[in-house]
Symmetry: C2
Subunit: 334 residues, 2 copies
């Protein structure tokens, strides 16, 4: 045995690195956030900058963020959660979404590693969040855990026995683009019709509530004056104030969420669903659970578990950081 | 090395058994079929009897079928593909469908093994078909293959790297019960609304075509006289005869099939879909592929493959037989 190796086969180097924190970075269409992460907790003040335009500028902004944290922290590496399709082995961006034009084709891991000399892991943001949530809840031995990130859209990540399930072409787990309705009723930003996220996301909540408003007067609902510029925040605030239309919108939104979750339950029979993302804070989990049970065959209804993420809005950052920590702590290949 | 072991660690016993055929048995709600299978081919005349009522009678009928084949064939074992939820390790029926009342709780493997002295493997019918199709097409090394069995209902099976994916509670891959529409429009035999199989199965084709018939005269469509007793066969025959209503029904049915396949593509990103079952013979695969591509984001549209099963109506029988052959040929646990 090499003296630098422990009895478990880990090198001293990898054990030391395992104790060090990593930076988690969450790259979205509008903002770029980062924080230092250790043991599934954010241990630094998070920093957020607006997402710049163009791939080169985004890469530079990420490098700047990393360097600003390196001034104060010794980092084992950095994990980047980004929108789009990612090859986690090469760290290349294989496909982008409308939110990040020109992002496709960026060799992100190579570019950032060469400019920071830090180990970098890149993953899709919903995958990273699901990975973080699964490990934080000690569910890495479960056959399947599905993470659902609720925000402007819906992201999903599928974790099987502690590993991100990626599919045959690295594009799996776009559950937000299941088709949950027929008849081309709502057009999705992805170019398809009737995707789950057009119903169950923040955009979906707004669209659903708008459909309730024609003919409603401002005496009946405070939302009637805001049809053109309705936001999720207006709706959730109005619902809290007892506004019937807003409450009805929230109720239908829960039904739409439940429809997608029930479909995923029948397809993948997961141990549990973990709901994260900004909009998860307005989910009535008891109501959602009842609605999912209503939409499941008895066998699924008995076992379905829907949990609220313990990582909150940091699920992506924490998951990405732990992806690089897991990668570093692997014993080197023989 | 034990002299009975080959260099690869297989025992002579297991190698001999691997060369022997197995019986494949397909248990459905109306009929019980069996045939001898070797190397993904049916090598005997298949036999079919009506499914008797009650678990005891079904078990006896299966035993009788096995014994009738044993008179003429030396069998390595028998694989049973059945409707319902199965624990493949114990061979117990964990959940049944309306088609086989009283089937739940039957310790099928134990009962049949004790009365035939043959190794028995039991699996859900759609899982068995997907397993057979995947292995027959030499796709056991692929990340994910999805089998879709089209008949009265829709069965799905998910094969990941050559193994049946079973989920956290052994109930995965009920893709036929994805919810593909909102608004409680069609009631499914499972007790839920708007399941994929109420649209994409034979029942779905009949329901869709019926919706087109109100106001249609018998001069306009030969189906107008048969609204009450419409069958898939009438519709496909009329479509072949150029009946516009029947052709419209078939077209919408393909759209409904495509909607479910596109959803599964976005969730699981499989290497390919393999379509089997009695109704697969009336699928226009070129049309279906176009419609799926229309409903997929570009990344999925580029890679989606939809193949017609090479095992035809025997996919379940062949898959079940190969499940027991695979099980037998495994080296014994150390």
């Amino acid at each position: 045995m090499n003296p630098a190796e422990s009895a478990s086969g880990q090198t001293l180097d990898s054990m030391l690195k395992k104790k060090m924190p990593a930076l988690g970075i969450d790259l979205g269409g509008t903002k770029l956030s980062a924080a230092v992460v250790s043991d599934f907790k954010v241990i630094s003040e998070p920093r957020t900058v607006p997402t710049p335009h163009g791939a080169d500028n985004i890469v530079s902004a990420i490098v700047d963020l990393i360097k600003s944290f390196q001034n104060e922290h010794v980092l084992a590496g950095a994990g980047i959660a980004t929108a789009g399709v990612v090859d986690p082995t090469t760290g290349n961006i294989l496909g982008s979404t409308g939110n990040l034009p020109g992002w496709e084709g960026t060799p992100l891991k190579t570019l950032i590693e060469s400019r920071t000399m830090l180990p970098i892991q890149v993953d899709n943001d919903a995958n990273a969040a699901a990975y973080g949530d699964t490990l934080a809840m000690r569910m890495e031995d479960k056959e399947c855990v599905i993470g659902v990130t609720l925000g402007t859209g819906i992201g999903t990540g599928i974790i099987m026995r502690g590993k991100v399930y990626r599919g045959a072409h690295l594009a799996a787990a776009e559950g937000g683009h299941m088709r949950i309705s027929l008849g081309n009723q709502r057009f999705c930003t992805c170019g398809l019709f009737d995707c789950w996220e057009e119903y169950g996301s923040g955009r979906g909540l707004v669209a659903t509530t708008k459909e309730l408003l024609p003919g409603v007067t401002s005496a009946q609902s405070e939302l009637a004056n805001h049809v053109e510029f309705l936001t999720t925040r207006m709706i959730t605030a109005a619902a809290d104030n007892g506004d019937i239309i807003a409450q009805k919108g929230m109720n239908i939104w829960h039904q739409h969420l439940a429809a997608g979750i029930a479909s995923l339950a029948h397809i993948l029979d997961p141990e549990c669903f973990i709901i994260s993302g900004g909009l998860s804070s307005v989910v009535d989990f008891e109501l959602l659970r009842e609605m999912v049970i209503d939409r499941c065959m008895p066998r699924y209804a008995e076992s379905v578990q829907i949990l609220h993420s313990e990582l909150g809005i940091y699920a992506g950052i924490i998951g990405a950081a732990h992806e690089v920590l897991t990668h570093i702590s692997k014993p080197p290949a023989a």
